[in-house]
Symmetry: none
Subunit: 413 residues, 2 copies
């Protein structure tokens, strides 16, 4: 069944609020096997809301609406939905009692306009709201279903989980299953070319690629009569994808690369440490962003200046001879780091994030050094980008990838 989502609220059109509700509901709907066709955002304007509601229903069976259920006069979602379905509003006794109780408990008097919230479209299934004052509701008529949620994400989620999800599950037979695969080391276009034999003319499971910062994600989704069928179809397709692109896959379960690296370190009861120049601590920061990182991460150094590198233990002559941004310095940093920390995996990075580089070097040039199991090595990066933020992030991701490849016993590229 086809669904669309309408968010009501001028603050969204001002760009003051990001429409996270649509993402949350889309994810839920897809899991349940509905096809989300559109998101709409309209302001607190009854005429345009009514138009978009009709538009959405012209093409989809289910419309989820968020926002515009509050007590103020510009909250008109309920009224427009009732008008669309041609039903009257009625005062819901329980909502009214809940409202009175809510304000009594808070010891505050109830502003008159709150009573507006007790009115719902006749024939609807009320979604009583224990997480706030504005109730939601579901209303089905002539094969069309509208479900209205308050705008605040916390209340919207609460009502979805307490009533709306169950209501929706009774509308569908089809079951959806999907998994998200994470890859690194291959661009979106190359990955798509590689998988073209599987993607081409593929209707179910579907394979969608999309590029994320320095990596590429694959979404494999199937919609069948039973959840078991869908799951089996997805897993069968994933094993075929692994056969073709396995070397680039670092997670079959949508994990962040940092999470995978920390998990592998824990499994091997190993620790990791870094000596960072151009990334300035970004690598240490992403490793320690993983809960429980303290098991595998003890200390790290940001050796930004030449003095800091020599203070770490890098031979002055190496920096003088090969330059601060060089394979030799990167390897010397990793080795000096190992002498300091004794961490099983010692990584270093030195490079030009931008906007400027020394004469004879390009912005985007960097060297990652590593020492692992007594072996010292490096990898050279060249992004041909001038964007400092982009470069720093890419260097950090490549450090993560280097750690991952070392842990997986793969050759460092």
């Amino acid at each position: 069944m086809k669904a669309s989502i309408i968010a009501v609220g001028t603050e969204l059109l001002f760009g003051q609020t990001v429409n996270t509700n649509a993402a949350y509901l889309s994810d839920k709907l897809n899991h349940m096997g509905f096809d989300v066709m559109y998101h709409f955002v309209v302001g607190d304007n009854p005429k345009r809301l009514k138009e978009k509601l009709a538009e959405a229903f012209s093409d989809t069976d289910i419309v989820l609406l968020t926002g515009g259920l509050g007590p103020t006069q510009d909250d008109l979602t309920k009224e427009m939905v009732a008008e669309y379905f041609g039903v009257e509003m009625y005062e819901d006794k329980r909502v009214l009692e809940d409202l009175v109780e809510f304000f009594r408990k808070r010891g505050g008097r109830m502003a008159e306009n709150n009573l507006k919230q007790a009115f719902l479209p006749a024939g609807c299934t009320p979604l009583y709201n224990a997480s706030g004052t504005a109730p939601g509701f579901a209303l089905s008529k002539n094969g069309k279903t509208a479900i209205c949620f308050p705008g605040p994400p916390r209340e919207m989620k609460w009502l979805f989980e307490h009533g709306a999800e169950e209501y929706l599950s009774e509308l569908t037979e089809k079951k959806m299953y999907y998994r998200v695969i994470r890859t690194i080391g291959i661009g979106e276009s190359d990955l798509e070319m590689l998988l073209m034999p599987l993607i081409d003319g593929q209707t179910d499971p579907t394979i969608a690629t999309y590029a994320k910062e320095g990596e590429c994600t694959l979404r494999v989704a199937s919609q069948r009569d039973s959840a078991e069928e869908a799951e089996a179809a997805v897993n069968e397709m994933i094993s075929r994808i692994s056969g073709i692109a396995g070397e680039y896959i670092y997670s079959l379960d949508d994990e962040e690369l940092s999470e995978v690296v920390v998990r592998l370190l824990k499994e091997g009861s190993m620790t990791i440490s870094a000596a960072e120049s151009c990334t300035g601590g970004a690598f240490a920061s992403i490793i320690t962003s993983v809960a429980g990182a303290s098991e595998v991460f003890k200390s790290s150094y940001v050796t930004y200046s030449d003095e800091a590198k020599t203070e770490l233990g890098v031979d002055r002559d190496i920096i003088a001879g090969s330059g601060a941004v060089s394979a030799e310095t990167a390897e010397a940093m990793a080795e000096a780091l190992f002498k300091r920390t004794g961490a099983e995996i010692c990584l270093s990075v030195t490079g030009y994030a931008g906007p400027e580089a020394e004469p004879g070097h390009d912005v985007g040039e960097a060297y990652i050094g590593y020492m692992y199991k007594g072996k010292i090595g490096h990898t050279r990066l060249s992004t041909s980008r001038i964007d400092r933020e982009w470069n720093r992030n890419y260097f950090k991701l490549r450090m993560l990838r280097t750690a991952y490849m070392l842990l997986r016993g793969q050759d460092i590229q």
Copy 2:
């Protein structure tokens, strides 16, 4: 003039990606004096994209589109826009050269489907993309204007700032001028109360407050017949705001606090260094994210474990006696750091970012230590939040704020 925004991408309808682009563009368009009427999200589906494009144009003069400009076969935004305007596609020589050069520098071979990116609608104004491979473009015909951006937020923003904004500004007669003021140390509602005499009944310039992670931003905007008039009105209002809320303002030009801190350090030819525990390098990372930070930042330490703290020079007994998360340890870290680096500003942080804390402590409790001009001190933080990411970011911001207040000679709170 009326505008709407269409985001193209199935990942948005799957709920895997949140449509932050629409919020960014809405904010910018509103600044420029355009009225944003709708947001639409459609999947990578030519038919539905074309329908929504026609729908958007039926009611608005300007349509901004994001996504679907990439190299893969489901990227069809350009083609649909060309079809709507009834123009052919042409191969843009410069885009082609940029592509070839991009892949040459990368040393990688260019997947054939990348060539698709060099084709643009005839008569468009190309938006050449130095932040990625997919170009954007603006196309106006019969009073209707479409501007297409790549989906990745950074590329979209880069193209907006490098071409699209200027193109849009020529479409409107009214001239808009605005400035963004950054404040820290006061909540949004308190700031609004403080400025109420200025905000109340204020039509032009308008004053809008936005709460951001741990800080609050003010946007002062004016729309007049001439840019000069608008600028004068905004600056006059800003001087009145400074008179009332000056103590909380750290930038009158929308600078990041990290940029201001680096600028103040440069002006005082001082250096800064950090010993980070719970933030794991996030502070060093944000300082070094500022171009030219190398002048003021030489080295930094991530002392995550107790051993790392003693290795830095913290007395074992202090950690044993007061605990790793304590004012005493935070101050000892700052003092030990000063002995190591001699930096004018030495900051430390130790705390519980979550999800867990030692018995007798709360998640969200942290201590920032500092040594500056021979003075050692600390400030205690307690967020009463359990969100690890939120806490780490807040601790980092408070470290920035501590550096800022030290540099401004203000008392540390």
